[in-house]
Symmetry: C2
Subunit: 318 residues, 2 copies
Amino acid sequence: MTAKRDAPRACLLLAGMKERETEWLHAFSIQAPDMRIIHEDEIDAPENIDYCLIWRQRPGLLARLVRLKAVFSLGAGVDALLSDPSIPEWLPIIRMAEPGLTEGMVEYILWQTLFHHRRIWELIEAQRRKEWRPHNYPAPWDRRVGVMGLGVLGKAVALKLAAFGFSVSGWSRSAKEIPGVLCYNGRTELASFLETAEILICLLPLTVETRGILGARLFAQLPPGASLVNAARGAHLVEEDLLEALRVSHLSAATLDVFNEEPLPPTHPFWKHPRIFITPHNASITDPETAIAEICRQIARLEGGLAPEHTASRARDY
Amino acid sequence: MTAKRDAPRACLLLAGMKERETEWLHAFSIQAPDMRIIHEDEIDAPENIDYCLIWRQRPGLLARLVRLKAVFSLGAGVDALLSDPSIPEWLPIIRMAEPGLTEGMVEYILWQTLFHHRRIWELIEAQRRKEWRPHNYPAPWDRRVGVMGLGVLGKAVALKLAAFGFSVSGWSRSAKEIPGVLCYNGRTELASFLETAEILICLLPLTVETRGILGARLFAQLPPGASLVNAARGAHLVEEDLLEALRVSHLSAATLDVFNEEPLPPTHPFWKHPRIFITPHNASITDPETAIAEICRQIARLEGGLAPEHTASRARDY
């Protein structure tokens, strides 16, 4: 716990943390004991709040904090913060980039890639029918995995999949170079990226450009029998297009961690679909210990007059 | 296909290969075209057969092959060959150790370890009930995986799990040293190995000593809530003891690739158990290309008067 000595004396508001609040308060008390942590329902002097760590924000909350210096997002995605008109444009919004969150996502995607690589739905269906049906599967280097989005998470995921032995392609908005990963960028190269992607991983930021990108047109460009893993945002996916692509067996199966409406309503058809595997938006969880170290590091930068890192950009919409 | 030039001119019998025979015949014709491959049902001159590659052997078959120099097992386990009294004691029995089989097992065990690490049965049950129930899970370094058996497969598996970030222990008959793996050996150290193993992986050879080792006494020494993955032999497991350990929730779940009776009979209670995940003895499949290269290498050793490698030992029973 070496963070103690360096932890700044700033005043930080915890907002929208819900059931995880107690855990975070405890972690701050140990790792940053000099920081004053304010609870969302106990804001007596909004002008004293320097920073805010936020998960599900209450619209308009931040507009009251007149001396706020920066907002920390608890997650990697900042689409909800960027679309809140009450947040002043000059206020730095910092995306979470901490090793715990990244490692958790790498673990989740490798798990789900193996899950689809080994066609687990065939094993589950065979078990339900009590049928002994050994099936073949290719070596990982004969399996092409496509990663959409090559930011902090996407890059770490692509590197790990390649290190494991899979053939990996990546697609991003701007050109990237990642050792061992075949990188494509921009709309013009999307078709070439998609046509070999047998397992498609979505880790894109949610922007005007990427909203609804996982739809009929994109699915049609994937090889027949492809799988989808969406661990980005529910709004990337056109839900009825996925159901249709599965119905006609163009896609084999999907793992979804995120949904347009969360919690996913009990009446939603995804719950009962035998080829859709649901995880409840917990693919990866921000780790308080490593995240607080990162928050303290960023606050120290700001207090020292340096620009924060991993800030969202309104111009590029993430 | 550089194997062509070095491939020996020996005569090799393919026995008990079943539905995979065509694939292997084709691979031999490309990789070792000078080798004479004999089909099990077409043995006209048994005295001409030098070697045998065998999967499910017909008892007594090998006794007819009077000039046999060695037997290659298609799999890593040789318990069925060692227990066949018609095989002369002096005949070398060679266990399969080829990169394709090893890589496949590493992939399967990492997949299943992530599966149990993330407690997939909770996700499956929640989905069946249409319940949104995000659950926490520890970092991989806070999860202890125990690997029983540290031969070619077990060692490769332990190294990969450790490289991924899991805390890994290993247990074997004789003392081993594997970097990054806490190694235990012998009966006296079994209890210490078991008491921290949250996910127990069985890759042991089947011997008189290990038959039925996965039973009530061993399960009782595991931490409550542990998981089991058996990818070795069905006879390692006392089936009713597993059902009982799951019933009282001392064990959480199990993945089984191997069974006392294969194919697993349709009436077997494992099929319908919600915490038992069945794969039909295809955790890893011997790869004809890399395996034939290995067989040619071993035959060249034998023909050159050298001792073969990876031979089974009747003294140690594997």
